[in-house]
Amino acid sequence: MPPMAQIAPPHREAEQVGLARNLGLLDVTMVGVGAMIGAGIFVLTGIAAGPAGPALILAFALNGVVTFVTAMVYAELGSAIPEAGGGYLWIKQGLPAWNGFLAGWMSWFAHAVAGSLYALGFGAYLGLVLRGLGLVPSWIPEAYLAKALAVGVALLFIGVNFKGVSETGKVGNIVTLAKIAILGVFIVSGVAAIARNPVYLEKFTPFATGGVTGVLTAMGLTFIAFEGYEIIVQAGEEVRNPKKNIPRAIFLSLAIVVPIYMLVAFAAMGAVEPGTDQPTWKWLAEHAELGLAEAARQFMPFGATLLLLGGLFSTMSALNATTFSSTRVSFAMGRDRNLPDAFARIHERTQTPYLALVASGALIIFMAVAIPIQDVAAAADVMFLLLFLQVNIAVIVIRKRYSDKLDYGFLMPFHPVLPAINIGLIGFLALFMLHFSVVAWFFVIGWVAVGLLLHRVYAFPREREEDLTPIILHEQPAPRPDRPRVLVPIANPRSAKTILDFAARIARPVNGQLVLLHIGTVPPQTPLTCGRRALERIRSTVEGAREMTEKLELESESIVRLAHEPWRAIVDTVEDHKIAITVMGWRGRRRAPETMIGGNIDRVLKYANCSTLVIQQGVPVPARRVLVPVADIDNASLLLSIGRLLRDDSDGQAQITIVHVLSPGVSVEQSEARVAKLREALQRPGLFDPEDAPISLQDERIELKTSKAADVVRSIADRSRNADVLVLGSSRANWLKRVVVGQRPYRIARRSACPVVMVAPRTPGVRFTAQTFFHFFREEPER
């Protein structure tokens, strides 16, 4: 086998190793929106109403301004340097080493304390529910109950993150949409209530009851509700087209979230009737973290329930996210030897950074227990403000040093004036919080002082010089158009031989190339770039597959890809390597009823931009009796091509049987017309035949049989008793047919007496689900 083409420094891995890019623009925007609309708005609106009064709306707007400038900084740096560490790494690049350490140290604290805030918020919301249900004795003080529940939920999510479970993907999007929906109903209900009673607008006068001081205090308190978009950058390694999509997602997130916050404040302030002479903002402040829930009780249908549910889900989701992010930061610091190596240790079984997780969890619980929620909020806000201040400094330095060497997807205007102004604003806001909470600044200063000491005596002497990132992506030469590439994802070494044999039969006639894909699955809590253990687990599979392909005497290459979801790695490889056909194995059992053949295969069939063959375990390669049911005449040639590749041509005795089943109501004339059309389609040159070489059914021992049957499934299943393999194809079907006949193709595969090969042709611009994949059994062809 010729050596693989490699362009790599000598100390890199021998295989090509790459990362799977999961997230498109919508996905990553939802990540940002979901991270921003966390528990902050639910928990802090009531608390911040006290200092600002109705001018809370203005405080949110001004926070939007400050945040937007920092967001432009993140957009600029995130488009050029989309690293998992985000702000932490940029500060390391732009500022002196001790700053880099301090940024990580502060970021760890900031995310952990934010987690404390969300845990306390959860505790308050759940406490309200339990009291309402009479499950908690009234003599237990609210604050103690909230803290106890906060500790409980923090421990729960430490466990969740330890197991490697994550609220990502579909579940995360559902939670984000639910939060937005609940806030949307809150806003609409509140605005409607105000519209019905225009006199409610008088509640907004006086507007800035706390003056400028009150507005600034509310800005400082609620600043944490505006952070979260930086997670977009932290997910950069998994974003498609990161240069463009990272900055776009950041701006879109802010354009969505800031108006929502302003409207929430408007509705909360204007639609509530306190029932006493006190102004609404005082009433909200008295209810503190439960202010929004109490407000919703008044004017929103099922308001209390929905807001409580929204608050519970938001706080849980935000706590999960902050546990995750604080763990990742401390893990990165351990990996970089800024913290003890134990922080970089990954658990053998769960593949999660468990010691970093325990340390982060301990910090979360300590802060939740030690100080009141207002001070926790203030501490988190101050820390985030100081972090963002450093990032604003870093962008100035990085632009000065590297701007002509980096490829930017976005550049902020009026540089360095704009970041300089923002540094002033952020610094002022952070200092101003001293006015609100001395305790918060006590913890902040204490944490920073400990960090500086730690750096001096421990981290600085240990800092490594070399890059510890174990995985890099090897660039590949572009494939030659005349060499079709056949992709074979290898997961199970036992079934690999069958799949490889078949893939080789596809590749050989056309002088094609095999591309073996090995996927190391990494839990969501662990950055993909740190999936070394996942690589080690699949090393024997990689070597075994390489030995098998050597015997096939075909040119091949191996790709090792790390992914949180295997199907993404396959789809990305199809795209990156211009794959013509993907050949996958299938055990033949479905895990969940809602998937036809398995979550990963379903998604590959849906999203991969190539023809896909799925081979059931047990398919003999080659086979002597191949059965090919054809319903969609357009696919007949492709199915026959696959059948011919499967057939054993060693002794000229193997047979291919094409079956076309018609409904009993079809007339003789229609039947003859269809058969003629089918025969013509079958005689067209196959997938791998020269264009001027039509197929002779007789010469090739291809038998065409037609029949009429009311029960198509049974008819095909009966015939499969006399076959060694069944080749099934896909076709387009409208949604109604999919709903009505959705299960029929699967029933055929399940009832088949022989193993099955499924064939999904490449149809650009059309997405197939596994259901449409199987929808080829219809009486009349679809147009």
């Binding site: 432009m72 006086p206 507007f207 590297y402």
Partner: protein, 94 residues
Amino acid sequence: MSLEDLVRAGVTLPQAQWGKRRVRSTVNKPAFVAASVLAIFSAALMYWGDGRWVTWLGAALFLVSLFSTAGLCLHATETQDGGAAQADAKRGGA
């Protein structure tokens, strides 16, 4: 991290292109200034409106400035490479 680290991470331009591009934001600067001024002006209206109609006018203008600024930045992401390429062409190319 050093320049070598950035190179190894694969985030830099090819070395032959270093120093040959003029780094310039493609955000429409006059429009950006106008949107920023509108944001500050609208915030002032909100404050001094004291909860009356001027406050709500200010809030509406603020949202206009927010969406405008976001739109300008989004548009800039479309043209950032093109801007650099034009600068290259003017200076004799990379």
